[in-house]
Structures are given as C-alpha cells and as structure tokens.
Symmetry: C3
Subunit: 298 residues, 3 copies
C-alpha cells in the first residue's frame, strides 16, 4: 500500500509507438467519433498539470476526459506548491496518493517525465519544451489519415522552425514509420542537423506535396532576426502559393497561428485548411489515448 506495486502504461514519446499501435488508436478514435464507446463505469480521476500556458491542449484534454466520464482536476504552476520548490516527481506522487489515475503533464524540461515512470498512474506528455508532444503528433497523423485513408507514398512537407519544434521531429519520424515521405522547408539557420531528410523551398513543396504541415514561429525568440512579412514571402504559405497546391492537398498547423507570418490570414479557414479540424480531432484522439492507457492497451 505504501509504494506502488503496478507500473502503469504511459504516453511519453512517439518513439514508443509501433505503426500498429498508432492504427489501433485511430480505430479507437473512430469509435469515439461515432459515440461507440461506454463511459467509465467507476469514478476515475484525471489531473491536468500545466506548468506552462496552454489554451487548446488543456481545454482539449478536459473535454476528452469529461466525454469519457472522468473527473478532471487542473493544477497550474503559479497557484501550486511548485512555488514552494516541490519537484514534479513529488507532485505526481501526491496525485497518485490522492487517487489520480491519469496525469496529463506540460512542463519545459525534456525527459523529466521519464523519472516518474514508476508511479502508479498513467502519464501523458502534453509537451516538454523543445522535446516531444506526442498527442499533438497523433492528432496531426489522425487528421491526415482521416483525409487520405493511408500514409503509403504520401508526400508531406514540414515548414518552420525545425530546430526548436517539438512537433517537427516526432512527426517526421512517425510519418516515415507509417510509409510517408517527408521533406522540410526552413530558413538556413533553423535547419536541424539531426533531421537528415530532404530540404526544399516552399515553392517546391506546394507543387509536390499532399500535406503542408506548418509550424508556429516562436515570436519571442526569433522575430528580431526575421521580419514577419519577409518570412511569409520567403518561407510561408501565401495565397499565390496555396493556389498552386494539388486539388486534394491539405494544410495543417498546430496553432495558435501567427496570422500573416506562417500563413496568409485568409487561408486559416480556407477549404484546404484542416487547422480547426485538427482541434476537433484532438479531442477524439485524446479520448482514444486515455481509454487505451486505462485499459492497458499501450
């Protein structure tokens, strides 16, 4: 009773998922979408621990949890014992002790959650700084799959600040595991030496690719070096470029969008855009993830 005897399954990184596990989550998500699931029959507590600001990820998890019938609790950085210097491990150990079974965690230190894997509650990495954000990857992949029904031979361009993006690397690895071909669009100083795939221009990308996956420019860090308009013209998705995309191609962006920087503002809600569809799918795939973790299927 004093210490945990069971180790629970976690979702910490895209790397832990085999292709068949990803498709299993998609199947589960399709059931969630069509309301073919039963909510929890017993009271189950989930805690959303967000030590960095978030709107859509936090809200998305809350909706997913409530739709599954879970009790949700929210723990933000500024009003908690983190201000007293308590470690993440001790905080999660506390949540375990009071009966929490799923903890969704956003914080800024890569790998910190790995130290908490032996706790008797399932951990979901909701973004660890420049590291991983696997539920964002899965909602991106699910949105692509919903449209194309397969990844085989699909051409995907990932455009933006590759060096600092937690989403870019996870998505590139997962897409190639699933059979897609990935290329990258980025200014020279934002290239990531660990990504060995092909670099292309945005003009090449819109003409060759089925999916343009835009990343968010982190204003705080970068806008002193590159002005917004210059970025859009040189590396972003302008209306002129969008007109040259394949008729069946789609546009993704994890949001929040810097309208007029990564993408022309008018394209955010255009027919090819799946930006808000991604958010809808985010709820669905997170329901699938939580369900799979609680059932021990991951």
């Amino acid at each position: 009773m004093m210490t945990s005897v069971l180790s629970r399954p976690h979702l910490l990184s895209m790397k832990q998922l085999e292709a068949e596990q990803i498709f299993h989550l998609f199947d589960l998500a399709d059931q969630m979408k069509n309301n073919l699931y039963l909510p929890m029959s017993r009271q189950t507590f989930a805690a959303n621990v967000f030590l960095e600001p978030s709107t859509r990820t936090k809200m998305s998890f809350q909706v997913a949890e409530r739709k599954l019938g879970l009790e949700t609790m929210n723990l933000d950085g500024e009003s908690s014992s983190f201000t007293k210097g308590e470690s993440l491990y001790d905080t999660l150990k506390t949540l375990e002790a009071i009966g929490v079974e799923v903890a969704v965690v956003r914080q800024s230190e890569i790998g910190l959650l790995d130290e908490c894997k032996d706790l008797n509650l399932s951990l979901i990495n909701a973004g660890d700084g420049c590291g991983e954000h696997p539920t964002q990857s899965l909602l991106d992949l699910y949105t692509i799959y919903e449209h194309f029904h397969s990844f085989h031979g699909l051409k995907v361009a990932i455009a933006g600040d590759l060096k600092h993006s937690r989403v870019a690397r996870s998505n590139a690895h997962a897409l190639e595991k699933l059979g897609a071909h990935v290329s990258f669009v980025t200014p020279p100083d934002w290239q990531d030496p660990s990504l060995t795939d092909e670099y292309v221009t945005m003009d090449e990308a819109v003409e060759q690719c089925d999916v343009i996956m835009l990343l968010r420019i982190q204003h705080e860090r970068h806008l002193h070096s590159t002005s917004q308009m210059d970025y859009l013209e040189n590396y972003g998705l302008t209306k002129e470029r969008e007109a040259r995309m394949h008729p069946n191609a789609i546009i993704l962006h994890p949001a929040p969008v810097n309208r007029g920087v990564e993408i022309d503002s008018d394209l955010v809600e255009s027919p090819k855009s799946r930006i808000f569809r991604q958010m809808t799918n985010g709820v669905t795939i997170r329901m699938a993830i939580i369900e799979a973790l609680l059932k021990g299927e991951l």
Copy 2:
C-alpha cells in the same frame, strides 16, 4: 464541417432584447427558481472565458451551468494562449472546434465580441469594459420585478459613476423600455452627456424613488479626486437618507460594494437591501439565459 453552417443566438447587449423577450426570460427564471425544468439530456459544454478578474459573475455562471447539467470549463487570461498573443476570435474558434456550445466572455474591449458572432457557439457578454454587461442588467431587472411585479410607473434612481459604468446605460435604456422612469445621481464631472434623463440629488432620490440603484465607484480611477467620506456624504446612501426612503422601496448594488463609500456599511445587509438577493437571482436568470440560448429562443 470545416466552417460553421449555423449561426447561434447570442446575448451581447441589452439593446437586442424586446420587452417581451425580457419577460420571457423572467418566466423561465421563475421556473428555474421553482425547479420546474429538466436538466440537459445530452452532454453540453460551456466555457467561462474571463480575461479580467471576477468573483461573483464567474462563480454565478458556474453554478448556473452546473444546475442546468452542463459541463463547465474555465479559461483565465494569465494561464492561456492569450499570453502568446492569440486573438479572442481564434480562441473562441478553438472552443467551437473542441465542442463548446456556450461561451461566457468577460474582456475589456467594447464590441470585440461582435466580430465573433458567426461562430457556431452561443456567446454571452459577461462585461466588456465600459460597454455592456447584459446579464447584470437582467438580474437587476429581475430583482426589481420580483419585488414590484411590474415596471409601469416605477421610479428608479441610478447613482454613481455614470461615465464609466457599463451597467448604468444598459439599465437606463431597458428600464424605460419596460415603462419605468429613470433619474440619475452623480457628481458633475461623472455625468454622461449621452444620458439625457433627469439629474437629481441623492436627497431628492431617496424621497421620490422606489428603487435606489447604486453603482460601484472604481477606486483605481477616481479616488484621487474625491475622498471616500466626502462621496458618501454628498452622493452616497447614508443611514440618515435611507430612513427617508419609501417603506416599500429597495436598494440595489452590483457588488463588490465599497462599504462606506457608495453606501453606509450597515445598510448592506439591511431589510431594504437586495444586494445579496441580486446574487441569488443572478444564478437563476443566468440559467434562464443559457436555457433560452440553447433552445434558440433569443
């Protein structure tokens, strides 16, 4: 699916409501008060988006939503993507995408919600700076109606900082639409040129009126120009003045009260005061408003 096809009803301003719609809300509120309604049969999500501090309005909406059987989510300014510069439109569009059907919004920019009217979720304006606060108006009106059962010929004095009060203007217009006669009590430099009604002294108001509707003095802006005691003596409701009110007259205040400034502290919980009754009625009328919006009756 990508863009909204339905426009939902909103409550953004008192101006949008005809007298008969106001009375319909009162009827609905009476049913809520007597538990003559059925909670939601399906899971419905409401989001409370409060970008400015609030105790009673936010809590009141939360209670109203839970009593109706809604799932509630809270989004405050400091822990959300607003800190990343995301617009209100994109935030509400996100809430729409993740399945929210009602969004209660407090923020400081007049008219900003009007830009969000085409979203497929019902918006409730919970205060937009110096602009409107229609649910506060409706709870004031409902509290008057509960006591007098009619507005016809009723004399109402509104006292306080008319220039900066969102409540004063809405209430004045609505009360006159419903058949009441409105006068104002205020220091000369807080008069609002757009309000053409009669100005009176507080001494005249207590002797003539059925309702004394006090406004909150915004400390931050004004107390350098007028000291607290001076304000109470010259423009506030002292115990001496209260003794001269009609036996059946009542006192309203939207709270939080500056005890000893707008009103003598001892009068806050006195028999004529409806200040805490207003809060109780606030839950009831907000239940009615949400119900009417979800049923498409507004």
Copy 3:
C-alpha cells in the same frame, strides 16, 4: 430569505473537537475508505477558496468533494475580486447567496474566519497562516490511529519550526487530549514558549518514540540562519537515526518535504514512512469531515 436564519456547523480549529467527535470522524472515515456511504442525493455546491498557494490540500479537498458527489468550484486569489479589495466576509457572503453550502478556505490571517461564522454555509479552515490547519491535524491523527489503533500511552515527537507551525500546536493539544505523550525537537531559537511539554534531542526522540512527526522548514524565512546540511545533521531524520527507531515506529510529515533538510531523501518512501499514506488518508478524512458538517454532526 434576505438574511441567514440558520447557523451552520464549521470546522475552524482542533480546539472545538472533543475526543469522541474525533473518533466519530475516524469511524466515518473508515466507512468512506470501505465505500460504505451513499453520495449526495441532491446537488450540493462546495467552493475551495485558496488565497495562498497549495497543491495537496486543494487537490485533496477536490477529490474528497467529488467522491461525495458534490459540485466543486475553485476560487483563487489572483483571478478574483480580492484584487478589487473585497473582504473575505463579502466573498463568502456572495458564495452563500449563489447557493454554496460548504466553503474550504485557506488564507493568511489568523482568526479571520471567526468573523464569518454566522453565514449560512459550513466553513472549513484549510490553514490560516501560523494559526490552525485542523484537517491536516485530523489526517495526521487518523494515520497514527490506523497504525496503532489507540493513542493511549503513545509517545510522539514533533520536530521542526515550532514557533511558526500551525500544525505543531494543534497536534500537540489534540494528541494529549487523546492520551498520547508529546515531546519536541527543535533548535533553541525555534522553541515556542506556549508549548510547555518536554524538549528532547532527535537522538533521544528516535530511541524513545513511536511516532516521529516532522514539520516542514519554511525556506523563505529561515535558511539564512541555518544551513540545510547542518539542520539535517543536528535536528533532522538521518538514515543513521532512522535505523535506531523502534521496529513498529512510523514517520509523518505534512509535505511538501524538503528532501535532505528535515529528512534524508531516501527515507521519504521508506517502509516506516507514512508520508504518502497521509495524503491518501487526507482524502478519506476530509470526506468524513464534509459529510459530518453537512449532516450537522460537528
């Protein structure tokens, strides 16, 4: 209807509880632990008003409330009307007006809650600065009782900053009321003249006592005067000292723990430690407390 007619029971201080009331709460807690209770049959609202940071107490109350079937609301200092200068009384009166029946309050002013006792909602003191924290005391006592099944003749050492600890004084009085013998371990300048019990060294304590109850060192105030390592060596629970404890003795700490200051980090999850068990019991005893207050049994 305008003013409260009933006074509700509160839990403000350990002093208000007789020994038999404490054992009644333990009985109730045992029922909670074994799921031998029925959740609320009607919708009941609880508000958690935390004006100072807290992780475990706030989360613990939330879980307790949800397990009892209550609707919970959270009101933190920074996003509420406290920033407009509203008093605690007026805030709690507002909660009463909107239908809240139980308010859990953490704030920093000793005795402030006493001014709110006539409100028609049950108040639970969740820590008032250097004053009382009765639900922490009760979870400590319940954890001791769970292990020893009696307090009679039990030897308990309380170690730490006695002068500033709200837990130390409450626990000492309650333990002696229940039949235990209390001694204290503390540096000379942290002794509390109002505590007349015996002072011992930590070496004496580990050899004599059944329970070592450690207190948290308040970093902010004290660490300029005493270095961390010095404190552990002179007054803390080292591994060497733990090895000299009775085989059946246990270690308590209210958490968050300063690992390596009050206690060697390795001992936090050791077999004698009840630190995380205390948190589990905190949910259970808080369920019992809320239930007893709502039933009028306290």
